[in-house]
């Protein structure tokens, strides 16, 4: 792509373009260290993934005798059946409920707060709120889990999905507000002013103007939060107890405890629980990746 571009452009200004053209190809060819690291890392990442996938398709009895890196000539879905029969559909539903139930309210309240902070920057209260959220970025979830456990017990929510949803929302708020506020700040002031001249309330402006204009940011933040909550392990571990309240990562762990020696079955569970995210990754890779670094890009 870039080569064709430089080529078509070059003839226009011969002297300067000659000088400019040279650095890029030179820089490309000689990056041996980067190239070596690149291919090695590919192997480091891909081999375990490949091994997990092909092993999950092997029959348990044949697995121990086969070459671990050669896929089975006769792949079986038997392991997957065992996993699904171990209530994984229930755990999948739980994960979906917790993720959606936490991400939607988290993004809505964060968006409202971000809007208020940007539009009401002159108010000391809102600047203080913003400061509090910024500090909140530094609060590690792990360190607060004991009091969270206590609060959940006092609210009589222990061992419910709501117990997972509430703290998840709280810990999603700081970064969401930060990222969303950055994007709302980029909306031209004139647009807000014209909404006000038309007599629109803040509430209307929030949903009719700010939300549509920052839709990519809203999507990005939602994806980031969804991934974090979907993969969360500590909250379900500490705040639930009954098997039918398990979310996927916790269920995976208990499944491993139960079927530890049955390597193909354990790996089928691993593959199955990561499948939804991988499907999402296949379709929305760009959004996912930009979502991951949204708060840290400089």
């Amino acid at each position: 792509m870039t080569t064709t571009l430089t080529r078509t452009r070059r003839p226009q200004k011969v002297t300067h373009r000659e000088g400019q053209r040279r650095p890029r190809p030179a820089a490309r060819r000689r990056n041996w260290a980067g190239g070596l690291a690149g291919w090695l890392w590919l192997a480091v990442v891909a081999v375990p993934l490949y091994w997990a996938l092909i092993t999950s398709l092997k029959e348990r009895t044949r697995y121990y005798a086969s070459n671990p890196l050669v896929p089975s000539g006769d792949p079986t879905l038997e392991n997957y059946r065992l996993v699904i029969e171990s209530d994984f559909l229930q755990y999948f539903v739980n994960s979906v409920v917790v993720t959606v139930g936490a991400v939607v309210p988290a993004v809505v309240v964060s968006f409202m707060a971000a809007y208020a902070i940007v539009r009401g920057w002159r108010m000391r209260v809102l600047r203080a709120v913003n400061g509090l959220f910024l500090m909140g970025l530094a609060i590690p979830l792990q360190a607060t889990v004991i009091p969270v456990y206590l609060i959940i017990i006092k609210l009589h929510l222990y061992d419910s999905l709501a117990a997972l949803i509430l703290p998840s929302i709280a810990f999603a708020v700081p970064l969401s507000v930060l990222v969303l506020a950055n994007f709302i700040r980029d909306v031209p002031k004139e647009l807000f002013d014209s909404m006000r001249v038309d007599g629109a309330t803040e509430w209307t402006t929030l949903w009719r103007l700010a939300a549509p204009l920052t839709r990519p940011a809203i999507l990005t933040v939602s994806i980031f939060n969804a991934l974090t909550i979907w993969n969360g392990f500590l909250l379900p571990l500490v705040l639930t107890q009954s098997p039918d309240r398990r979310t996927l990562p916790l269920a995976l762990w208990t499944f491993q405890g139960q079927y530890g020696v049955n390597v193909p079955a354990v790996l089928a569970a691993v593959v199955l629980t990561t499948l939804p995210v991988l499907v999402l990754y296949a379709f929305g890779r760009r959004q996912l990746l930009s979502g991951l670094t949204a708060g840290f890009g400089r």
Partner: protein, 300 residues
């Protein structure tokens, strides 16, 4: 009354704004700020997790500070932090620079690199536990002696495995940060260096690396502070073992609190965790602040 709400107060639409921030504030305070304050308070109590909470002053702190388990957990935490920083940083810079190139095959490799970012720590830990199993794992299947060791059964090896798996999981994320950083370096700098006859390696050390200074600080802060909170991965992979070989602070807190039912001492550990995290974040910010001026001057 009517004078207050009457015409002079045209700001009415604006005074709605704090209310818009209220829901987020309420949840955040209720489930993040209150617990943070609460963990300080709980560290001065005795509680088994079920019964009544009794205020017992410094008992928990005394128990924690005199327990040899604490310096050990601090040391393991520090080692995991330091070694995984040393392993991850050069690798992430190298891969980030590599991925910043516009070649198509690099973009394709990138698709594979970032897959680990999508997986839960629990899934990664479980897959590696199976892969490293001395009897049924990859090494055993390939009949390779060196690969079929008791990886998770020996302290030194288990520690190495933790660092490796942590890197496997997080190098992609930091590469992504570095890729963004490298792509923001002005091309003109490289062109100038090229004219001066600087080679690829020279360019890397005198342009790419200095220009990435802020990125290094961002990435290192996330790495170092983040490493304090590795819980899922180590909990599932080694459970802190063998023995206490990989018992980091976060795990120590969980085990004391939720397995040994000593919530008071566990809260004290949590307080230490918060304080260490804050201290490190401030330290790194300080480092970043000082370097920021210098790098801008160099850039100009």
């Amino acid at each position: 009354m009517s004078a207050l709400t009457g015409p002079p107060r045209r700001r009415e639409p604006r005074s709605v704004l704090p209310w818009l921030a209220a829901p987020a504030l309420v949840v955040f305070v209720g489930f993040a700020v209150v617990p943070l304050v609460g963990v300080f308070a709980l560290s001065f109590t005795t509680w088994d997790g079920i019964g009544a909470i009794r205020l017992t002053g410094l008992t928990s702190w005394r128990a924690v500070l005199t327990d040899p388990g604490l310096p050990h957990a601090l040391w393991v935490t520090f080692l995991v932090m330091a070694v995984s920083w040393v392993v991850q940083t050069p690798l992430s810079i190298l891969l980030g620079t590599f991925l910043a190139g516009r070649q198509r095959y690099r973009a394709v490799l990138g698709v594979v690199y970032f897959v680990p970012l999508m997986l839960s720590s629990a899934a990664i830990a479980i897959a590696y536990e199976a892969l490293l199993d001395p009897n049924f794992g990859l090494g055993a299947g390939l009949r390779l002696q060196t690969l079929s060791q008791d990886w998770l059964g020996r302290p030194g090896l288990a520690f190495g495995v933790v660092v490796f798996v942590v890197s496997w999981q997080f190098v992609p994320f930091h590469s992504l940060i570095y890729q963004g950083g490298v792509q923001q370096i002005p091309k003109s700098l490289y062109e100038a260096a090229q004219l001066d006859g600087a080679g690829r390696i020279r360019q890397f050390f005198s342009i790419t690396l200095p220009q990435l200074k802020y990125t290094v600080i961002t990435s290192s802060t996330l790495m170092v502070v983040g490493s304090l909170t590795f819980f899922d991965l180590i909990f599932v992979l080694t459970g802190g073992g063998p023995g206490d070989a990989t018992r980091v602070l976060a795990l120590d807190m969980y085990k004391r609190g939720f397995q040994a039912s000593l919530m008071g001492p566990a809260s004290a550990i949590a307080v230490i965790l918060v304080l260490v995290g804050l201290a490190l974040a401030l330290l790194l910010r300080r480092l970043g602040g000082r370097d920021a001026g210098a790098s801008q001057l160099e850039g100009a």
